[in-house]
Symmetry: C2
Subunit: 314 residues, 2 copies
């Protein structure tokens, strides 16, 4: 049972320490401040602010190192990995994958890195908000590009399963494009819809008349702006593609509304898409033989079908 | 206690008959088919397919006539009103107000018309879906343009209060612009967001990774397309304005994302708008003296502040 070294004790890192501990794994980690480390220690966890010591222990134990710091704080952590545990088994829990892979290639090029993205979160943040059950039933994306270390791939998938998640394999660029469309764009749409609904300051008639469609469509505009900005701005290239797709569809709709007054194409396409979404809510778990040259191609295809990888039988 | 004649037995008309009956009003009405009339009669309601007879009775009793048929079915009903009960007290329950006022001016110009819009609904339709409690707590917009018949205004407000609703006064063009922004645009945004998220047929990765932000942002894309089309296409002019506002904001956001990568303006504006929305969830009920020349201006101002008209004390 592979040990886990978690760098970062925010909502995701802190939940990961708790979930891996719940699963019986040896777990230790690092916090950015003495206060957070002390809080984690008081809760019974093995947490220090000494990153080099934690990484030396990871190299010694051949542990899986999980980087769970914000994208903007990644570079110095990767430099310490390259200095202390240069060939470690490495994954991460950051919400974009191409940018992280680029930083790893630059600053910790010898690490055996397989990116990950546990798709869980709440409106809360920080060590105290952590929860061993945060990943139960969530999708946990595991990078599935050709040439990755299959042994580390199994480690990351094992950790995801141990934390109660479903393993969704994906090429990292396809992952970033997907989250732009189903997570980042929805936040921007909610912001624009809220602003259009609110209209001019001093005229609350529209807001007063709003009901379910507006309440639901703008809900995530209530998220703390700094969280939304960190998430969206870190995925700029993929997000631009999603925004342009949306603008194209809205422009076509605007043209139809102005010329013939007809909205049937837009409304029917949206209805069909929502029906397709409903059909993906209960993914098939399929067995995959994690050996051979073609395994990553097979895994990527499985992910594109909306299926997940079946955990090994007990 | 004024009697109520309801033309139309769909979800809204059928619920209105039940709610007005619950409030102790004398109620009768008309259905478009013998089968629906028979179903309503079997449920104990006084419903016929003979529109002229129902209207003659309304003229005789000085009842408030409520037109609760779809916008596309309005014209022949108005012609019968003009023939049988030309000066009746008249309101309606259609979701757009300028188009209805234009049709009334053309086809029943002598009616004492004050438009209404009870903002309630479910995914269901038809007589059987009706519910006496449908309007409890809902906003019921009552037209408040200068020159309306204040006596009929009180009748419409009394009916709304009797059905458990909050009375929101508004100029009819401001009403149509408001519902375009907080009801019709959200449906189009949901449709476009669903289509962008679904992307290409055969690639369900994005849908499989979607979570709360996408589920909420696309929920109303699951509404039956014909309902959405009837609602949106009937409010074309106002909807174009809302769509253009949204396109302007999205275009500015796209420009900022492409040039500096910054989304702060969009995200902060959305967050502030959502906070403003939250503050409108518990409207103030204010007393209004329903007399005098300036009463409609006062009512419109009250509606723009997001307040509602206080029902008369018992």
């Amino acid at each position: 049972m592979r040990a886990v070294c978690v760098l970062g004790t925010g909502l995701i890192g802190g939940s990961l320490m708790r979930a891996a501990t719940r699963a019986g794994r040896p777990v230790w980690g690092t916090a950015a401040s003495e206060a957070t480390a002390a809080a984690a220690v008081a809760d019974g966890f093995d947490v220090t602010t000494d990153t080099d010591a934690a990484l030396a222990r990871a190299a010694e134990a051949d542990a899986l190192v999980v980087v769970a710091v914000p994208l903007t704080a990644l570079e110095p952590v990767l430099r310490r990995i390259d200095a202390v545990a240069p060939t470690c088994r490495l994954t991460d829990a950051v919400s974009v994958k191409v940018a992280v892979a680029d930083l790893v290639a630059e600053h910790a090029p010898r690490a055996r890195y397989v990116g990950g993205h546990p798709m869980a979160g709440t409106a809360e943040s920080g060590w105290a908000a952590g929860d061993a059950g945060l990943f139960d039933g969530a999708a946990w994306v595991v990078a599935a590009d050709d040439g990755l270390d299959l042994d580390v791939w199994r480690d990351v998938a094992d950790l995801a399963w141990a934390c109660g998640s479903r393993v969704v394999p994906a090429a990292i660029d396809e992952h970033d494009a997907a989250v732009a469309r189903i997570s980042h764009l929805p936040h921007l749409f909610a912001a624009v819809l809220a602003a259009v609904g609110a209209g001019d300051q001093g005229d609350d008639l529209a807001l007063a008349l709003s009901a379910g469609s507006f309440a639901d469509g703008t809900r995530v505009a209530g998220t703390r702006p700094e969280l939304v900005l960190a998430m969206c701005e870190g995925n700029r290239a993929a997000l631009l593609g999603a925004v342009d797709d949306a603008l194209g569809r809205l422009g076509a709709m605007r043209g139809a509304l102005a010329s013939t007054g007809g909205l049937a194409a837009t409304v029917h396409a949206g209805h069909e898409a929502r029906m397709r979404w409903s059909s993906t809510r209960d993914p098939l778990a399929l067995p995959v033989d994690l050996h051979g040259d073609d395994v990553f191609a097979e895994l990527r295809e499985l992910g594109r079908r909306g299926d997940v990888v079946e955990p090994p039988k007990e």
